[in-house]
Subunit: 445 residues, 3 copies
């Protein structure tokens, strides 16, 4: 049988994943302080660190002004320092303390303002007074600072000195890509984004999980499919990547996933591909339903990340989004509260790794089982009846017979699992046994 | 953008329709007293008046004895007078007072009868003692009078003189037809019937509404489709018309509607085409669902008007029935209570006009929108993001993006509106904008 | 019109079936005492008696060691006597008293044992202390006795003499088959099994019902389809039969049914063919829904009889199972309580006969009705309107018109009945009338 990421029991699976969860969480902590944006040093540094963990991850630059489908790659943002001096001489809103303090892509400014005028450039959340909001302005030149509402209402009247050492230069955005070849040119595609500053679930979770999935897949002794992982700035990055690779992706990708907000330990969430009935959807919906019958299923119209580009008409890639708490739907979203202690945990990483591994397994091991005997086979003479009944009694025998019965070439293994109302991973060992006994054979299409 | 009947807001739409409602109601009042039947002077006079309002409406006669599919055009009924003289010498049941008093197609008679014998020829409704029932006997020769049950039980014993000046002669039935040519030979077909005497909803509502729809369509500066309106006696008329025009209709009609009982202001009712999934059904069901989520949806087996002929096997036209209170289902049906004061109102006409206009718009403007950009387009640089967000905030932007996303050539505009759960008329201006911006193009199939 | 088993009203139908029910019950009583198994004299004797009732039923033998798809025909079991002598000298568990006392396929033994050792070979049901359980061991050589739990707990300590005069010899299993040819080579297939000793519902009900269905079909003056009935030992018998006849069955069988546990008078039960949408399923589900809206519908995964072989991948016959209380699901199942007094009754036989006859009728009379007139036909001139309205008023006229309206060649008669929400047998006389009137014609595909 083709090697699996997780052929073991659920318990064994969780134990191994927990260790991986700690490792992913540690990487996220390392990446946390870096001031990322859709371009510039922070993004480049982040991708550089990822490539240390994943040799073969190739970085490349797309120059400002380049066409990215309907978009143009913007100027690169060079940000060195930003802070405000209050009337008492205290330095506040300093990005060296928390990089969310500065509105992303702010222009350079050096000015003295009355508090009243400064207020036009301040952002805070009255409903979440302890949170620094995350604000950007990529396509309209402006500047601003974000701060806790508690701090804002305590600001004293007087003259404030604002200092932002920022430049917008002809530069580039940075993308990273790795392809892990398999027996087939057909690809499973994973995309995640690296353009958010110090926030955990959105979005250190996606890159850290993707990295360790790629590592694990790279270690598989053999693979049916090729795997492609990309790490990009959101929206502009996926468009730039499609500008380069669209024909290749359209030719090879049979299933794909956007990973985002995927390491809190709340419920699983799913946003389907535009088609809704792709192989991605079939495999993921099966796995999620068996991991948590109450997982949250969104509609295509709820989309809001790179799946929008990958599934756009004419691009038509079968890319769905895997998440825990969906972007926009959890209270800490786009604030400084989205952190690595309360929101994103090693357990969250571990569960999500297991979930993705289950999906990859389902794709790798999916085949059309074909019956090689006519009529119901005699299990007793093959020693299948007792040996199985000792395990989980008659239920296993029943599932074994159902698997044989549905192996008529019209259903693949996931569809048979759905028909039998069991997780597909309970069928892997049964299928292997039946193939060895020449009762079934595997067919790939 | 192709001109619309009602591209305006719902409020503007209602204001304009209210005026039309008054006009239609006035026409119905004018037609009210005429003694119509499936043939004869009343039918001819009614169609003559309609042609004054709609130049181009062409009347033609089909001779008695002509084949009308499985039917034969019957003799023409010439009715001049009918009444009864009671034992006290009073004239009762006089059709010059109310033409429902005489059973339709009654044969001529001049006789004196005892009350007891006369009773065999009287019809009244004990449950609706104030109503004169509407009774006909087209295919079996007999005679009879209809009267209020109150009046009937007060009849004194004695000898009654019955007088009916009626003849059945070799004549003809009269049909009226208008075709309003459009850019395409493909037709939208409307049929309604003019064979009922003084009753309002059933059936002055259909002819008056159809007339003003035809007028409004005729004034459109351009039209994609051709429109055909026919005004007939029910059943025999549609069969006679099919005898003449079936091949033409089968070649051209892409959607069609029978209009009946369509100007009371109660709920909308819908009876589908036999196929149930024709373009008529798609457009009408969409419009009705958005006008009133609780509209009443009948089954094909509930049919009872000309749709039965138009959709018969081998004829197979996609004709559905649009109604308010369905024939047979409202208390005033087929009685003198079905009048122009309590049942049919200007408001009822206005709402039904708007409903039909919405359906016509949906058909005229339906196309396959096709995305011309790859990936999610950048709305900001095109000024679409702010300009739209000022209108109805983010909802419009979301609908705009959904419209683009679904413009992959597999769904037409109505289907996209269904997918987006919005009325198709909210998509018309968005589509127009996106076509002008070359983000989408329209395709017709 | 092609002759029917039951074209009459439900009442007439029941009266005739009740007489048949008595006859079937009498046959079951005659077969009751025979000690049947999957091979041997009891099976052979049973099939011999059936052939006396059904001339043309052909018995044939399949030798031990023969291939039966994935199985091998086992040795024949020759059982002459079996009993135990208790310490007081009483003869107990004597199969001449009840053949369930011996574990089926027990090997020969002559031995004296302490009660404690004997207990290893005894089987009883603590929860049903008055029932002798039915136990077999076909594929593992052993021996044992079955007895009432009440009797077992009263056994005195001491030495017991066990005597089983049994042999396993190279012999054969016996199958029986009859084909009743019709106009077409296309076949309706019925299978039932005869390998159970003295139990009534499971399984004297299937063979007795099948026999009388075959008799009735044989008397039909003409038949569209050919009918094949087989009487077999379960599992090994159907596999052996498929080994012989598979290609023929695959070529001809258009619908098929396994009859089992089919003469108690509890609810009807249905287990679909593997495909679930075969002609068998369509006809049977229609009939069952109209006989009892609350019939019990099982899933393919609940299977447990010969349908498992007939529908196996590669065999792919459209065979469903018709039952009353499903095997395994009724309290008397596989015990001496499954008898001809409390469980299986003449009424149960009668109802099941009627149910099967309704299904056969539905298959025989199913056709595609095609409209021969255009538009709604004029019923009045053909005398259809009044003649029908005298029967069941307007409902019949409505159904008549609906039948015509749906006769467009896309639906067969069962599908039209489903569309009209009436039992198909109410359409037979309407169809006949309309065919005679040349309004419809029948088409077979």
């Amino acid at each position: 049988m083709r090697a699996l990421l997780y052929p073991e029991t659920d318990t064994e699976c969780l134990v191994e994943c927990l260790a991986k969860g700690e490792t992913m969480h540690a990487l996220a902590q390392k990446l946390w302080p870096i001031n990322r944006s859709i371009s510039g040093a922070g993004l480049r540094q982040t991708l550089g660190i990822l490539s240390e963990y994943l040799p073969g991850l190739k970085l490349f630059e797309i120059a400002s002004g380049s066409k990215a489908l309907d978009w143009i790659v913007p100027d690169e943002w060079v940000i060195k320092a930003a802070y405000i001096i209050d009337p008492s001489g205290n330095k506040i809103c300093d990005i060296s303390e928390n990089n969310l303090h500065l509105v992303g892509y702010s222009e350079g400014v050096q000015a003295k303002l009355e508090l009243e005028d400064l207020q036009q450039h301040l952002h805070s959340l009255p409903a979440q007074p302890d949170a620094i909001p995350y604000i950007t302005s990529y396509y309209k030149r402006t500047w601003g600072f974000c701060l806790r509402h508690h701090q804002r209402i305590a600001l004293e009247p007087g003259i404030y000195s604002v200092f932002i050492d920022a430049q917008h230069i002809k530069g580039s955005i940075t993308l990273a890509e790795i392809v892990l070849p398999g027996e087939s040119d057909k690809e499973i595609f994973f995309s995640t984004y690296c353009c958010h500053p110090s926030m955990a679930n959105n979005e250190l979770s996606g890159p850290c999980l993707a990295l360790f999935l790629a590592q694990a897949i790279g270690k598989l002794p053999n693979r049916r499919y090729s795997y492609r992982f990309v790490f990009l700035p959101e929206m502009i990055g996926s468009n730039a990547y499609l500008q380069l690779r669209m024909a290749e992706l359209q030719k090879n990708v049979i299933a794909g996933f956007n990973l985002s907000c995927i390491a809190d330990s709340r419920t699983y969430s799913y946003l389907p591909s535009r088609a809704g009935n792709s192989l991605s959807d079939k495999a993921a919906l099966h796995v999620l339903a068996h991991l948590d019958a109450h997982f949250k299923r969104y509609h295509w119209r709820d989309r809001g990340s790179d799946e929008s580009n990958y599934c756009a008409p004419g691009v038509d890639l079968p890319v769905a989004s895997l998440m825990r708490s969906k972007y926009g739907e959890f209270p800490e979203y786009h604030t400084s509260l989205d952190n690595l202690t309360d929101v994103v945990t090693p357990l969250g990483f571990a569960q999500s790794f297991a979930m993705c591994a289950r999906i990859i397994d389902a794709l790798e091991l999916c085949c059309y089982p074909i019956a090689m005997v006519l009529g119901e086979p005699q299990l007793g003479t093959r020693g299948l009846y007792p040996s199985l009944s000792t395990k989980t009694s008659t239920q296993s025998v029943r599932t074994l017979l159902d698997l044989i019965s549905y192996s008529d070439g019209t259903r693949d293994l996931i569809e048979i699992a759905n028909e039998c109302e069991v997780p597909v991973w309970t069928l892997y060992p049964l299928l292997e046994t039946l193939v060895q006994e020449k009762i079934l054979r595997r067919e790939y299409r």
